[in-house]
Symmetry: D2
């Protein structure tokens, strides 16, 4: 029976354990939250797995992932393998892989898409690593990925780092698509020419060029809240949009749509825009144009 | 048996006739091209339909559509109805509807999405008009729209003009989505971190957040031409992206993504950019920076 | 002695009268405000001028200007001349010129830049009209324009409409420049690397590439309010930025900077962004990402 | 008599030596080019200066500057001081300062603006460093900066790195301003409403809101080449625009104008856009839209 150690049983990891178990994978999970964990420590988790082991990390990118890799490098044995399925920056992968390689431990990075729906729909996977390592983990990937032809929901993108790179670009595209729908939604709302905006958007789900999963989700959201006015227009960004834009800079690739989508998120989080205060100040200076004074 | 007069049997109209006939609609088509037409003139087409008639116009937007409406206003009888299924500007609809209403002829505008795939997949439809007119044409709409729940591939968007308005915004969103995929594609190609770009994009079709019909089409294109280098990066725009941006201006709606997508198309058609000649000239003036001289 | 009828003695017109009189032009002003007017009605103003007369309109663009032209067409005599110095859309000029030409009255459109500073600095002028008309009004233009070579503060841009067209593009550029300074200001404020932001911006006034009148005004604003926090980041737009973008659309000219500057103003006036509510809703749908609920 | 060692006598350094000498500073220059150098090596240059010395580095940013600092750290004596006047990334300054501080050598970073015109007009300066170091170099700064009040052409922006940071933001603004003028120029050219585009732009030099040094340079360029058609629309970028955008990403500051200006430069250097090939491919897939085949 295929076994997997799974570290991090939050929103994503918890659901992944469900899907893996439903596919017959024996999962030993570890999480600091005692209500969800299957083991009391990383050591305990590792001790419950037969070697050679595969351990999947599903914790926040950056320091938490890095620290987990370091700890695993001290616990795992030669011949074991680590998969980082978090939203890590692709440049972190080489560092992690090198650390583990020094101990004879394999490393694969996996970009995982699909959100909370992945438990039932399967997760879109993009992985990077040595062919033998990827092959060895294939039963895990097959359990996680959506049904249907493997190549439509899974890709071996290249060597270590390529999986997270592909996921980063995927998310950059996602930012652009979401903003495109968002601008269309606002235009429909603002113009009042269309009398039933949710009906129009609902009617785009079949036959149109814009049909997509994001559209289906927008329809779901509109079903719950037809004018989306229970929400504030405040949007976080998770890092991958920023990294995508940094790649655009590094490779001199024009990325006007992805950058516009990212900047719209930045602006959404500002109570007041310092830049626009400067524009207001300039207009006031040259034209005596009225300005809004704070508290005025 | 339901009848329809169909004017314009080009790429779209020809396929629509096929789908309508397959659904049991009796279609009398008219086109100036004798190889595809079912009638010798608009008058001939009209004479072959029992009253009260429904006539669908599927000719280029602007003058050709306008002229067809004027001719029909002189040929059709009180109680007949005209549907404009072309990519007309929504402000044209009121003019057409008023002209026809003066003769007691009904009018519905229909935004039609789905391209050459509509024959088999069905066409996404957004229509505008009086409820009774829309209801009367419902057998036609049901034949054209995709299988599945009617409300997922068809909407009655509002009064006259609302169908084309919805289609215009749909296309604006489409521009943004296409550009998002395009930027992602270029980044993957430029960075070389991902070794097999088509495999990654193919693997996005299931489970991911970006899964969509446009993605499926990109996969098809990459199957035929893995680096898309048989094509030039030259892209026309059809009017609806421009109108969407004009709406954004009129309603003071920020539309950075849709405008960026439109401008990218404008730029794609320029051999050389006058604006960038000005930037080059400025850099040369202040910094003595090297410039490329024409013919140099 | 050169005479001028001047209609509209608001912020701009009032100052222009001062400058014209200082240059020895005899100005008969008319304004509905009895405190500033020199005449009791348009008829009264016209009666106080010797023929052939020149009358300058300095009222808000659109209906007020149009109405004034219509009234003048009924009051003025053949051989008289009208100059529209407001911020009219260039397409209005042809309509006005035709109306007046039918009565033998000349027409020149004048784009006027310089704001409240024009009284002392002179106004930058761009005019459109027949050469003879422009020549006839030259003493007026010379009185209004800045000191120095005429061609550096005045241009005859072309036939009727060209003056306002040049002013429109001027303002589009102005939007872009202001936004560039505004983004730079916000970056300096946000990063905290520069300890004295006003000192740095003040130090850009001589020798640098960005030195400009707008920079000087920014320095003035910072002198009064070093962090510009007495103002809200709320910025109106006056029409010309929108028209510039419409021209970009009509001529398929990429205008990413001017559009970005305009959209930033649109966004500055939104309490909450419907588009960003849509993005928040989408993120919540697929990822269970936390959102800010209204009132939450 | 104030002395300065000046390393790098290219376009900028050569002119700076002229201006410094004209102001009575004794300059010992070093350049690998024997035709312009005053000394045969760095060691030779240093030996010709009385201690405590000030040495100004004016070589390309990155490795050349870094290498020069390393060499100087081995040659200079405690109490000497280095000024980096190149276009270095501000994060380099801390590294350089630390290396030199370990040997008791001071460090100031200086952003220098003004291009080839600086010799006569003076250079806009933004410097970072300890107050005592900045004070000590003030005679040099005073010689280089433009005439007029010191605070209008010189700023002490903050501690080490702040000078280059201010210069980076200055250049980001510059990118945006140049692009704004460029878009305006293209619009004037494309629309043909204005008959004499150079005359209009020339007439913007006095009284208008857009009057600026960049405008004056555009007028110069148009004097030489009225349609700017001797040049190609191909524009390099020097690093500072990219870094500015990276700062925007790091600080979550929306920078739509500066990014648009940078992307326009990226696009100007592409023979063909991979992104737009993808858009063309998509349109072809869904609509059967005509595409341009390579060689077709």
């Amino acid at each position: 029976m295929v076994q997997l150690g799974l570290i991090g049983l939050g929103k994503m990891g918890f659901n992944m354990r469900e899907r893996l178990r439903a596919a017959g994978i024996e999962v030993v999970g570890y999480d600091r939250n005692p209500e969800v964990t299957d083991s009391t420590s990383l050591e305990d988790m590792v001790s419950k797995l037969d070697g050679p082991r595969i351990v999947w990390i599903m914790v926040p990118a950056g320091d938490p992932t890095r620290q987990t890799v370091v700890e695993l490098s001290n616990i795992l044995a030669e011949g074991d393998m680590v998969i980082d399925g978090g939203n890590s920056k692709y440049t972190d992968d080489k560092v992690n892989a090198d650390l583990l390689a020094a101990k004879g431990i394999g490393y694969v990075d996996a970009g995982v898409s699909g959100g909370v729906w992945g438990k039932d729909n399967g997760y879109g996977l993009m992985v990077g690593g040595a062919p033998a390592d990827v092959e060895r983990a294939m039963p895990i990937f097959d359990a996680l990925r959506p049904d249907g032809p493997r190549e439509e929901g899974f890709s071996h993108a290249g060597s270590v780092g390529a999986g997270h790179y592909a996921k980063m670009i995927h998310n950059g595209i996602e930012y652009g698509m979401m903003q495109a729908f968002a601008e269309g939604f606002e235009l429909l709302e603002a113009s009042k020419v269309v009398e039933n905006v949710p009906a129009v958007i609902t009617g785009w789900q079949r036959g149109t060029v814009v049909r997509s999963w994001l559209l289906d989700l927008l329809v779901r959201a509109l079903d719950e809240d037809p004018e989306l006015d229970d929400l504030e227009g405040y949007v976080e960004d998770s890092g991958e949009g920023r990294w995508t834009l940094e790649e655009a800079i590094d490779h001199a690739v024009p990325a006007p749509v992805i950058s516009a989508a990212l900047f719209a998120r930045f602006a959404s989080r500002q109570e007041d825009s310092p830049a626009m205060r400067a524009v207001a100040a300039l207009r006031n200076q040259f034209g005596g144009h009225a300005v809004k004074k704070v508290g005025g």
